[in-house]
């Protein structure tokens, strides 16, 4: 078993799996049971200012996208930050942290956008024993309308300002949680870094409507005949989150800024992918909400086996390993030429590759009267759509043409690395040469 102990911005936890700030971390009862189940850390459900807590709707809070076998693929929610009194949360946090010193416990915060409010809340949480704070600049519904959450997260200047206040009034490590509801994720991350953040975490949920009730004509979840947009999360959002994490990890302005990866982490593999793209650890919400706290056991055994297989001594060996290989399109090798090939022994003759290529791609698959499907190398542009739609694993594979071989489509000999920046069709390349 590999050692999964992870130190993230100075905070040590027995594994890199933290529960994200959400219902699973809303109270002592949950968090104790989560720690017993093996979670390495938690980010407590977001706390607000002193005073009467927020109220939630009393009808359904979730909309869901199911797979055919009712597998939960994505959830959207219209829940707000904690609706329990601040003193109760603080008392519970203190009590849990006292008993679980080896686990990470971070407090998520969201208070109005003025220095006094932040100073006050930071003062109140000081003696809880918590290991750090996470600033929730992400919540896309309910709080944004009150000038908090994603209303702050969408304005880089606000992020920088609030982060500065937090660093000024607290010595705790500070994680800034980013909203994905923005066109360039690097901007808020840069702002957080300027403000002095120790790390960023992302993503919070994505603005969404999961479905529309076609009898009552309202979005789901429907509250008394009306619905509103919610925040989308779960396996469906992982690709979006991975890209945003990678963007921050490889941008020169934010490179090296610690990242806590969030969004659709369901298995060890998801976690490993986030970490390879630069996340120092991961946070999980929907997987725990779908399968219960025990789901972490598979993440632990899976990541540990993977690290053993790879010979990684610690999670640090994995973190960021894929970052150098994330590049811009223009640097991709245009002389890397592949062709689809169909393994006739594995082929079950469904014809899906043919439909995909013939109807929507490059007419590069031939179909014989006896339903034998073959690739026409002289037409194949190697888009790999046929492989993607094929129901049989490894039936269609992509063969790399070695240098020196002739590409039957272009009639040109395959040569060494060359990218768009120097391609003759690129007007910019010509300009540079002139």
């Amino acid at each position: 078993m590999a050692d999964l102990t992870t130190t993230f911005i100075g905070i040590k936890s027995p594994n890199p799996f933290w529960l994200a700030s959400a219902p699973p971390t809303d109270k002592e009862y949950n968090v104790r049971r989560a720690f017993e189940a093996g979670w390495g850390g938690v980010v407590w459900k977001t706390l607000g200012s002193e005073g009467p807590p927020v109220v939630n709707v009393n009808g359904p809070r979730y909309g869901v996208i199911h797979g055919a076998d009712r597998r939960v693929l994505g959830i959207n929610n219209i829940e707000l930050i904690t609706d329990r009194p601040l003193e109760v949360n603080l008392r519970e946090i203190k009590s849990v942290k006292r008993d679980y010193k080896d686990r990470a416990l971070i407090i998520s915060l969201m208070v109005p956008c003025d220095e006094e409010s932040w100073k006050d809340i930071l003062h109140r949480i000081e003696d809880t024993g918590a290991d750090g704070v996470e600033l929730n600049f992400g919540c896309p519904h309910g709080m944004a309308e009150r000038g908090m959450g994603s209303a702050v997260g969408q304005v880089p200047e606000y992020i920088e300002m609030v982060t500065r206040w937090v660093k000024k009034h607290s010595r705790m490590p500070c994680i800034v949680k980013l909203t994905p509801n923005i066109s360039d994720i690097r901007k808020p991350a840069e702002a957080a870094r300027r403000g002095g953040a120790d790390a960023v975490s992302l993503i919070n949920t994505i603005n969404s409507i999961t479905s529309v009730n076609l009898d009552d004509f309202a979005p789901e979840p429907m509250i008394d005949g009306k619905g509103t947009h919610g925040g989308y999360c779960g396996p469906a959002v992982k690709p979006i989150a991975l890209n945003m994490v990678a963007e921050i990890a490889r941008s020169p302005e934010t490179h090296g800024l610690p990242i806590s990866g969030i969004g659709g982490v369901t298995t060890w593999r998801d976690a490993a992918e986030f970490m390879a793209l630069g996340a120092g650890n991961v946070q999980v919400c929907t997987a725990a909400m779908t399968y219960g706290f025990k789901v972490v056991q598979e993440m632990i055994s899976g990541l540990s086996d993977y690290m053993d297989r790879k010979g990684f001594a610690s999670t640090a060996d994995l973190v960021g390993r894929a970052v150098p290989n994330v590049t811009d399109w223009q640097f991709l090798n245009l002389n890397y030429i592949t062709k689809a090939q169909i393994d006739q022994d594995l082929c079950i003759s469904c014809g899906r590759c043919y439909a995909a290529c013939e109807d929507t791609s490059h007419q590069a698959i031939a179909m014989s009267p006896s339903r034998v499907f073959t690739v026409k190398d002289e037409e194949c542009v190697a888009c790999n759509l046929c492989l993607d739609v094929c129901p049989v694993e490894n039936c269609i594979t992509m063969r790399e043409l070695p240098q020196g071989e002739v590409d039957p489509r272009t009639g040109r000999v395959v040569s060494g690395y060359a990218n768009w920046t120097s391609h003759p069709n690129n007007p910019m390349a010509k300009q540079a040469a002139e």
Partner: protein, 445 residues
């Protein structure tokens, strides 16, 4: 080929060489990679899952299936083996329709449970194929434990004791270890010499010395064993068989089904194994089914299984009954043997129909006869011989708690001991639990 299914009497080679191969091939071959993913995907990862409760060894089934689903079958195998070191054989022989798969929520909902056993086999096969032993021994304790019987109960106990750092001497009366895994289970459930392969792999933990051909009672006494060891575990199984108590039982070619199966399991070439043209099996449990099916698979023309009570009260599950009928075995219920006829060797068996009455089973005047070149008796096994000085109850070694016998320092588990069903997995559970109790006793906890 000189003999056929129609050749009279008891002769070998009724079938072609290929037929023996196909008949005795793996009955549930391994799932391929795609089937594994589809099967694993069906598990709901239930909370406090009913399948776990239904497994005598309480393997964390949802967890291991999730580990398979995420492409880590070795981790899945460790989850299995940490509860049941015989998870490999159990995946092949457990009557899952009455255990985990019977309890699966998808069985209740759709009549189609998650294929737990075949997934378990995928995981355990993957790890065992690497020939890697997943556990290491604790620091040596200097304690010595004798385990008598190298069947599932003894093996599970020996492994757990060795893992805890004790030195284990494992004796078995037979020339090979494995117990009924090697000498009893149907050949098509343990194809490819699995029982011995699993035994070797299990011994990979170290600290276990297997001594075959050594019988308690014959070669050494319980007192002698106790004198040389700090504790003793008895996993003797059931060596004796019940008698039919029907007239003519002593005729030639009337033999215990377990003897027939043992010979079959040890045959180097099944084509040399003689089998009757007409075979009658008496009994209603797993042994009866296995004897009947394998007699058919060896080429017997007719095989009739006769059970004295109703179909519903048969020990064999409906899945096993169906398996028998699919293989051409005729099952007759509510009939008991009254006479075996023939001069010297049996040629016919006379049965009387029965009726269950309050006073017990009643023989009706209506009778019928079945032609029989061979009669296999499968009406239950008995503890034999009973180790000297040990208390018994209901024909088995009396135990309290996790296998403690009436003699201090002596534990028992598996078929020879009271409690639980006579199943491989139950024996594995009892052996493991007794070992944990022995461990606590030895370490003075």
């Amino acid at each position: 080929m000189t003999n056929s299914q129609l050749t009279p009497g008891i002769v070998p080679g009724r079938l072609s060489a290929e037929a023996y191969c196909t008949n005795f091939a793996d009955i549930a071959p391994p799932l391929d990679a795609h089937e594994v993913r589809v099967a694993a995907d069906r598990c709901y990862f239930c909370h406090d899952a009913p399948c776990v409760t239904a497994c005598p060894t309480e393997i964390d089934i949802p967890l291991f299936i999730r580990q398979i689903a995420t492409g880590t079958p070795e981790a899945a195998a460790r989850t299995i083996f940490s509860q049941n070191i015989l998870g490999g054989i159990c995946a092949r022989v457990c009557p899952t329709e009455t255990l985990c798969e019977g309890a699966c929520v998808r069985e209740a909902a759709e009549g189609k449970p998650v294929e737990i056993a075949r997934l378990q086999r995928h995981a355990t096969d993957t790890l065992m194929a690497k020939n890697a032993h997943p556990f290491t021994r604790a620091a040596p304790t200097g304690k010595r434990v004798a385990v008598v019987g190298a069947g599932p109960a003894g093996l599970a106990a020996a492994h757990r004791l060795a893992m805890k750092g004790h030195d284990v001497t494992l004796l078995d009366a037979r020339p090979k270890g494995g117990g009924l895994n090697e000498y009893g289970i149907a050949a098509y459930k343990t194809a490819g010499g699995f029982a011995q392969a699993e035994l070797d792999w299990l011994m990979g933990i170290g600290g276990i010395t297997l001594k075959p051909g050594l019988a308690l009672g014959r070669d050494l006494s319980l007192a002698e064993l106790q004198a040389g060891h700090d504790a003793v575990f008895l996993g003797l199984g059931l060596g004796g068989v019940n008698a039919l108590r029907a007239e003519g039982e002593d005729k030639a070619n009337v033999l215990p089904a377990t003897d027939f199966i043992r010979e079959l399991r040890q045959a180097a070439d099944l084509a040399t194994l003689p089998i009757g043209r007409d075979v009658v099996v008496i009994g209603g449990g797993m042994t009866a089914i296995d004897a009947a099916v394998q007699a058919r698979l060896l080429g017997a023309e007719t095989v009739t299984l006769v059970y004295r009570r109703s179909k519903a009260s048969m020990g064999a599950s409906t899945v096993e009954q169906d398996h028998a009928t699919q293989n051409g075995v005729r099952i007759i219920c509510n009939a008991a043997p009254v006479r075996l006829l023939g001069s010297g060797a049996v040629v016919e068996v006379e049965f009387a129909y029965t009726e269950a009455r309050e006073a017990g089973l009643h023989l009706l005047p209506q009778t019928f006869r079945l032609k029989a070149d061979q009669v296999f008796k499968a009406i239950g096994q008995t503890l034999e011989p009973v180790p000297e000085g040990i208390a018994t109850g209901g024909g088995k070694i009396a135990i309290t708690g996790p296998g403690r016998t009436s003699i201090s320092g002596v534990w028992a588990g598996g078929d020879c001991a009271q409690g639980g069903d006579d199943l491989t997995v139950t024996a594995a559970a009892e052996g493991r639990d007794a070992a944990m109790d022995i461990h606590l006793y030895l370490m003075g906890a």
